[in-house]
């Protein structure tokens, strides 16, 4: 890489890190709670920590910990963990055009880092009209920032264990994190309608197994958004 390119790439990387930082305020307590729950479900500290880098997806990690506790059959656990994460296919579809032509190594690395929180912050940058050949470095920055925070907060939860008081309602930070990510992304009326319809559908279809209500809600919201866009 020429010197100018290196500078631009580095700039995107740090923009990604900075963009992710405020979100980490909500992610940290959540990672700690995961660490505490994993231990109390009977996982070893090593297993609890390893899951945060092997699976690296908060909602399915929480679900798996609960299922272990209930003594759920292996195949059901795998199917559940997989289906909960299906929404990531939408993220993959959404960032794909911007990662076209990158080397397989880049694609593998950025896919591994494509979590809810890194995606939500990065997609704003990718869709921004400013042209740059280095926007994938932004995802690398936001992804690494989130990854590091998730590993450290898991470790903190494992270390502190029962000293994290359940009465503080720290799990509420999950909802707050997603509010902080979703609301600023509502840029016009079709997007507002998509959000409202997705929220309502998610509630109405909550009886579906494997959290498939998230997929139903995404499809309903996107369809209504598209329909309103046509008018």
């Amino acid at each position: 890489m020429a010197k100018k390119d290196r500078t631009l790439a580095r700039k995107e990387f740090w923009m990604g890190v900075r963009g992710e930082l405020p979100i980490l305020l909500g992610v940290t307590p959540f990672g700690m709670i995961y660490g505490v729950l994993a231990l109390s479900a009977g996982l070893t500290p090593l297993e609890s920590q390893a899951m945060s880098s092997v699976v690296f997806a908060g909602s399915s990690q929480f679900m798996l910990v609960q299922l272990v506790n209930l003594g759920t059959p292996v195949l059901i656990m795998i199917a559940t963990g997989f289906v909960i994460n299906l929404r990531h296919a939408l993220y993959s579809l959404s960032v794909a055009p911007y990662l076209k032509g990158l080397s397989p190594l880049w694609k593998v690395l950025l896919s591994y880092l494509l979590t809810d929180e890194a995606y939500a912050v990065t997609i704003m940058r990718l869709q921004h009209q400013e042209q740059s050949e280095y926007k994938h470095w932004f995802l690398l920055g936001s992804g690494i920032a989130l990854w590091s925070c998730w590993q450290l907060s898991t470790a903190a939860g494992i270390f502190l264990g029962a000293q994290v008081p359940p009465g503080w309602g720290l799990d509420f930070t999950l909802a707050l994190t997603f509010i902080a990510l979703a609301v600023p992304a509502i840029s016009d009326t079709p997007a507002l309608l998509a959000a409202i319809v997705a929220g309502i559908t998610s509630i109405l279809t909550r009886g579906l197994p494997y959290k498939l209500n998230l997929i139903a809600a995404a499809i309903a919201g996107i369809t209504v958004g598209l329909w309103r866009d046509q008018k």
Partner: protein, 105 residues
């Protein structure tokens, strides 16, 4: 290898492949234009679908009441997010409101 490691590795691999899927396919397959146009709604639709049950449901039942502190604090957070567009303010004021409300009532 015990069973839990097997579960963890399987879910990890499947999750990774899900995230990789369209990023890898992109060079060989182009989605129809209706799909491309719908993609801009992915963040708002998915993120909203995740947080609404978190603030609206108590033990899987809809709790539209003033005794649901998560709903009240969540609405305050939505307002802060709309006004400031700042994640830092949204999360800290939202959590502060939640603690204040549970302490008051």
């Amino acid at each position: 290898m015990n069973t839990f490691w097997f579960v963890m590795l399987a879910v990890g691999l499947l999750t990774f492949l899900t995230r990789l899927s369209f990023i890898l396919l992109q060079d060989k397959w182009q989605p129809p234009s209706i799909v491309t146009r719908g993609l801009r709604f992915v963040p708002v639709a998915v993120l909203t679908a995740i947080f609404v049950p978190e603030i609206l449901l108590v033990e899987n039942n809809i709790a539209l009441s003033f005794s649901n502190m998560r709903l009240l604090a969540g609405l305050i957070a939505i307002l802060v997010a709309y006004k400031t567009k700042s994640a830092l303010w949204t999360i800290s004021i939202g959590m502060g409101a939640f603690w204040l409300l549970t302490w008051l009532f």
